[in-house]
């Protein structure tokens, strides 16, 4: 992995937080599009952190706001729709004018008294009545067409959404299968991790690393954490240690980690755990605190 790529990867968190300026964002997006799966993965993880950040700020808006906003959208749509309808009516009127003779005024009461005029008017009045039938039929057909078109679009979009859901579930299943393959991979190597100091003699654990898949599973026990501190996991390679992150200790002092993209160049020769101030070592390539556990592969 080149230094240049590490620089891109370091930008994932700031991009997820929206803290890159426009030019930086464009360059980062261009890099993502190369495509870079490593950065895409990192970005997805950072995006989850951003989602937790936004969820921490969630506040229920005032109840009346819902109606106000939905009405505002309907009003916007109404204005836009009104303009469209007006245009459609103009087109429709132009079409009608060319297809049918201009309608005649309806007969008046005086005209009905005049039998000669009445007969004459009745003959003429039939023409717009027939035309109206034609318009009604055309309108009904148009409405049916619109309804049908909307139904087709809705079904198509629902179908797309279901396919996306299926794809997500398949991805999830494939991911679990990859973990199962890692655990039984002939290329996988294991390390027994033991305490390096007497005062933490109870620490124990193991790590399994599959270099072909760049995945590792780490299980640690008896991690006694004092306030203001964290345990940090390290992979040791030929170029020294590299942080694999702060360890989340469960109740009872146990930790179970599944690590992807364990991308230390060349071979990992050992795993180690250091005891750090809260948040971990500021240097991703060197522990700041004492190494309390280690085990070679």
């Amino acid at each position: 992995m080149s230094v240049r790529h590490d620089e891109w990867r370091e930008l994932c968190a700031l991009y997820a937080l929206g803290a890159l300026d426009a030019a930086e964002s464009r360059r980062f997006e261009a890099h993502l599009a190369t495509p870079c799966h490593d950065c895409a993965w990192e970005l997805a993880e950072c995006a989850e952190g951003v989602s937790a950040l936004t969820a921490s700020a969630a506040t229920t808006p005032a109840p009346g706001l819902r109606t106000r906003i939905l009405d505002a959208i309907a009003a916007e749509e109404g204005l836009a729709g009104g303009a469209k309808e007006e245009k459609a009516k103009r087109v429709e009127r132009a079409a009608e004018e060319s297809a049918y003779p201009p309608p005649l005024p309806p007969p008046t009461r005086i005209q009905r008294l005049d039998t000669e005029r009445e007969r004459s008017d009745r003959r003429i009045v039939r023409i717009p009545f027939v035309a109206a039938l034609g318009w009604a039929a055309a309108l009904a057909a148009a409405l049916l067409g619109i309804v049908e078109q909307r139904t087709v679009r809705r079904l198509e979009s629902e179908s797309v959404a279901l396919r996306q859901q299926q794809a997500r579930l398949e991805d999830h299943l494939a991911e679990e299968q990859r973990w199962a393959a890692t655990m039984s991979s002939p290329a996988a190597r294991t390390a027994i991790l033991a305490a390096t100091t007497q005062d933490r003699a109870g620490l124990s654990g193991w790590a399994l690393y599959d270099p072909s898949a760049q995945r590792a599973v780490v299980v640690l026990e008896n991690l006694q954490l004092e306030p203001g501190h964290d345990f940090q996991l390290w992979a040791i390679g030929p170029h020294g240690p590299r942080s694999l992150g702060v360890i989340q200790v469960e109740t009872g002092g146990r930790a179970f980690m599944r690590l992807t993209r364990v991308v230390v160049p060349a071979d990992i020769s050992a795993f180690a755990v250091s005891y750090e101030a809260k948040g971990g070592s500021p240097n991703p390539t060197a522990p700041a605190g004492p190494v309390v556990m280690a085990g070679t592969l």
């Binding site: 936004t54 969820a55 921490s56 309907a74």
Partner: protein, 184 residues
Amino acid sequence: MDLASDLLWMGRLQAGDRTALEPLYDRHSPSMYGVALRILQNRADAEDALQEAWIQAWKQRDTFDPSRGNVAAWLVTIARSRALDRRRRQASRGRAEGVVPIDPPPSTTDPETAAARGNLQMRLRQALASLDPKQRQVLEIAYFEGLSQSEIAARLGAPLGSVKFWARQGLLQLRELVPRDEWT
């Protein structure tokens, strides 16, 4: 409602079904409004920003691309942008008056849902509070104040490399502290 339901409603919205706005509003407005409120520190402005955000979401519904993120992230990003724009406009006008203290608005949510949401909220806030102060500061300045990485470095008087490190560690730790399943 879950991510799959979100996609279904979004599909209907993209097909022009305006009624799909209602379930999406109910699910995502608290996050959108909460972010706007944190940015603007004023209820009336946050409500206006939320309205602008929903109108934009409706008008630009065709730009939602599920391969680039989920519906929640898309909507919250719109709300954040509208709120930050409003904040910048206010700053350029030098507005300082009219700030109303933020009180929790009355809620129509049923008590059970409200209790569950409150509990989750408490856990998320505890998780945020448990971060290293520098990590938390970088996340809050970047997200809620809209500062760029170089502006954050200048504000904190720290090297750019440290800002990047704190941002990454903070986000990944927050993600680990409260698993996604609990808040999606």
